[in-house]
Symmetry: C2
Subunit: 593 residues, 2 copies
């Protein structure tokens, strides 16, 4: 039973699981925890914990069946795949000094995963590496991943990081568990079906340190009952910091799994029951001993705000690589124009910029005498033409507009727009590439919207430099300048998506992405600034720079999978437009990096 | 409005279109044909038919807009993409002698497709090649296909094939339009987004000739009003042969498009109205002039039988490449066993075969004295063990069963089955590969189900030869023999799916496919037969053969994209099992090729 109904949330985080011990009776196990308590799935050990391959051989039981919990027939295929996550025996230690233990561990790991795969389970939980050295464990898991069809493997990692500044210099404490995960996944070649299940403890690392995990492939958060506090009525609850973390998990499709023994004395007084006692009472008054923990997690889920309409629309685009547009090379489609034109906030800013430019250029007393020549370069289906004419009307200035557009399909619409609005006397449509147009006169104002999400990545500088020849020497370019920004991020999912192409060209492509599951590791820094008109003698737009980012000291180590790019543009004087997080124009959605 | 509700039919053939002339007023065109008449889409010319690029240049109209029907804004993006198929100007002739016409044709073709692509239309109809030579037309379309994103191109092809035996030796008539299609698509490198729209005429080629098209990528059947007959009440109807053809199209996701002027004098007497007159009367009594044709097509659609439950289940697997199972190398999953075990018909046949073998081997009077040793090699989760025990019970013979299975995961279930059914005294489970097992005694009967869809393709001969060493010299193998069959087919969709991998290995893979959109070009012929036990001295199972297929003379030319494979197995004496179409066991679904 999902934790609650949250409008628009279709992610996995609606489901809550419970970690269970080995039981020979899987149907009863499911019935207790799912029908009885309301959990959505169990994380269940499938093989008898007493099993050791080496003991079996000594006993000569060569043709016996492996001691799994029941046969595959005890549950239906859909019960297995929807309600059971396999839990690999926690005694295994593939990097043990003891050779028998090491070999037994490898055999058992392979048998258990083969069984889980035979059952078409969605995932298996792998026990946390026993120490810092996990090379053999990772090698073996990597080998298994190569032949695994669809199943996910969740590596259990305790959520701990010692504070280096702490005076407690116990050497055992000086562990950053992220580093164990990082070595393990690097040895598994960043395999896309290897993910993390974080063990949430009663004390949490710093927020910056926790933040790293939101860029990693975390599938589950295993919350031990020990981590819960007790509220005034005796019920379990979580600290504010734990609550924030769980909310973060809900928003990143991470599933919560409750683990451990009940440790709260509930008012109904049934905590003294052992698990096996209460099992026989599920139909009676007695509640499942972990029910109050599940209820609390459900309460946190239900407290979440509904997903706003705009975000719901964007869900499908989150963390999805979109190839950058190449409007200079390809003609945009009608639907692309349609989407861009809906971004009213952008055109309000343009109208404000043109108005200010018109007022600066033509004094009030000459408003009726002077006609300003304004050229829209890259007019598309006409939104900047409309914004410019509205600015002229607003300021009472006379305007002559040239709308230059290279896409003949957009020109069809431009013509029909001009006719429909009766702009024939004011607007001239030029069906031509601005780089080759022979303008009949020079412009006072050049208006364009050629910026990509990273500023210059759609070749705005080159196009505007080319158009500058028909701008008067004292003419104005809107935008007058723009700056690109970058920021290092952890983005495991995006990295794997790019990697799946198995070539360098995809790693060198600047994708457009609606970021969600990333960790921002340091503040953005400005990269390149372009100014228009460009009066410098250096005409090349090639740029090179070197930046140094400093990661907050309490973060710990982190993986930089790539850089997030942004831009900020000055349209005219104080009118700006941009997506750099600290100064972003609100309510805009055209750009994302 | 779809033609009707046919349970389970989600294919495109529910929708019916109408071919229209050029109109400047697209909203009105849509309103007439879709809201007014009930068609689902229009196949509409988008550019003014008077337009010629060469004339435009002479007039110096360099910066004008192209004469398309309205701007992209006259319809919503979803109206464009759901209700409009673009129709490229039919005057274009890219292989014309006249150079101006040829150049104008190429320019216009590119402009029209760019416009249709700008509008995100789902498809564009290309006019039929003007003559037998269409090299430049195909070259140009191939070039366009390389940069086209999602749009389909439908090449119009008249459905004609002259009968070579006919005495009418008019040379113009000696055309097989399939050959035009074949040259065109070969020049376009069998591109997956190039399909056929067949022009259905009043006379039809032979059934064998028509049959070829069901293996090709046919998207639309354009039925001219001329092809309709008149029923006794004056309404349009189709000949029996035309009806069968249209039913075939409905079953192969081909959409019908009505074309041409109304030619029937309807009782209501409104046929004398021209199209433009009736346009103004859609809301009144007057029906759309093509409405009675649409109604007749709808009537044919509604007459179809509902899709049977079993077929509905298989719809998703039709013409879909499934990688062949490799049970010898990989362990099967629980879900695969689950599916196979549901095939009751197969196990009924096995039970019949074992019963007959037991009766032959043990005379009635010795029934209580002799215990037959039966080995199931590849026992899986036990269905053959169960069938054998049931045969023993049915015949009153005593049985000792060894169940040999190499998959340790299936062995878990076997053990639990034996325990559940109380078979411990009769059944011995051997968790071992049959090729390496050291059997403690020899078997009277060896039962296996190792056959792939093509008989030997899952290495049944090799496995059984390996197991033969523990069969008594006079022992019985069930199956005792099997033969593979092949048949040449046209299978355009499958060919393209294999081709998309861009390598040879996929072309050499024997896929498992639920055939639907294929044309069978000749009867199947037997290929290889394997007999067990194999007492021949030639121990190699390598085979080589050469077969000659004869295509019926009235078919015409055809493309062999590959071969369909089948098998027929003799389980024991007259009990057989197989999928070769002429002798197939009914109600079986485990194999498909």
């Amino acid at each position: 039973m999902p934790l609650g109904e949250r409008s628009g949330d279709k992610s996995e985080s609606r489901y809550c699981g419970v970690e269970t011990n080995f039981s020979h009776d899987m149907p009863q196990l499911l019935s207790n925890h799912i029908c009885g308590a309301g959990f959505d799935f169990v994380v269940a050990q499938l093989m008898d914990p007493a099993y050791r391959p080496s003991l079996l051989q000594k006993e000569g039981g060569e043709y016996g069946a492996l001691p799994f919990a029941g046969s595959d027939l005890v549950l239906s295929p859909s019960q297995w795949s929807s309600h059971v996550v396999g839990k690999v025996s926690s005694w295994i230690d593939l990097d043990a000094e003891d050779e028998i233990l090491r070999l037994d561990s490898e055999t058992t790991l392979k048998q258990e995963i083969a069984w889980a795969s035979h059952l078409s389970l969605q995932a298996c939980l792998l026990p946390a590496p026993k120490g810092k050295s996990c090379a053999n464990y990772a090698r073996c898991v990597n080998q298994i991943l190569q032949s695994l069809n669809n199943m996910q493997l969740w590596l259990r990692i305790p959520l701990v990081k010692s504070d280096e500044d702490s005076t407690d210099s116990n050497s055992d404490q000086l562990i950053d568990s992220w580093e164990i995960w990082n070595s393990f996944r690097l040895l598994c070649e960043h395999h896309s079906r290897l993910s993390v299940a974080l063990d949430v403890m009663s004390s949490l690392p710093s927020p910056n340190s926790l933040g790293r995990w939101f860029g990693e492939s975390v599938r589950a958060a295993i919350v031990n009952t020990d981590s819960f506090l007790t509220n005034t009525r005796g019920y379990p609850c979580l600290s504010k910091r734990h609550q924030n973390l769980i909310t973060g998990f809900f928003n990143h499709a991470v599933q919560v799994v409750i683990s451990g023994k009940p440790v709260h004395n509930l008012p109904s007084g049934n905590t003294n029951l052992t698990a096996s006692q209460s099992i026989n009472n599920v139909d009676g008054d007695k509640r499942h001993p972990l029910r109050s923990y599940l209820d609390y997690i459900g309460y946190l889920y239900q407290k979440l705000d509904p997903i706003p309409e705009q975000e719901r629309f964007e869900l499908g685009y989150r963390d999805f690589l979109q190839s950058p547009l190449q409007p200079l090379m390809d003609n945009l489609e009608a639907q692309t124009y349609e989407t861009f034109e809906k971004d009213t906030m952008k055109y309000i800013q343009y109208q404000r910029a043109v108005s200010k430019a018109l007022l600066d250029r033509v004094p009030d007393k000459e408003a009726s005498a002077i006609t300003t020549v304004l050229m829209v370069v890259g007019a598309g289906r006409g939104p900047l033409v409309r914004a410019s004419l509205q600015a002229a009307e607003e300021t009472g200035r006379k305007l002559k507009v040239y709308a230059v557009e290279k896409n003949p399909n957009a020109v069809v619409t431009l013509h029909s727009l001009v006719k429909l609005e009766g702009w024939e006397s004011v607007v001239t449509i030029i069906s031509c590439d601005m780089r080759y147009w022979k303008a009949p006169e020079k412009a006072d104002i050049l208006v364009s919207e050629l910026l990509g999400s990273f500023g210059d990545n759609e070749l705005s500088p080159e196009c505007l430099d080319g158009a500058q020849r028909f701008l008067k020497p004292d003419g104005i370019s809107i935008p007058s300048s723009y700056t690109s920004f970058i920021q290092p991020v952890t983005a495991s999912k995006l990295y794997n998506d790019v990697k799946s192409h198995k070539d360098v060209i995809h790693f060198e492509t600047a994708y457009v992405v609606k970021f969600h599951s990333i960790a921002k590791l340091a503040s953005p820094q400005p990269v390149f600034t372009f100014t228009h008109p460009n009066h410098s003698t250096e005409k090349s737009n090639n740029r090179y720079t070197k930046l140094q980012f400093e990661i907050p000291s309490d973060t710990g180590s982190a993986m930089v999978h790539g850089f997030a790019g942004y831009f900020d543009a000055t349209l005219y004087k104080d009118v700006h437009l941009g997506i750099e997080p600290s100064t972003a124009t609100p309510n805009m959605f055209s750009w994302s990096v």
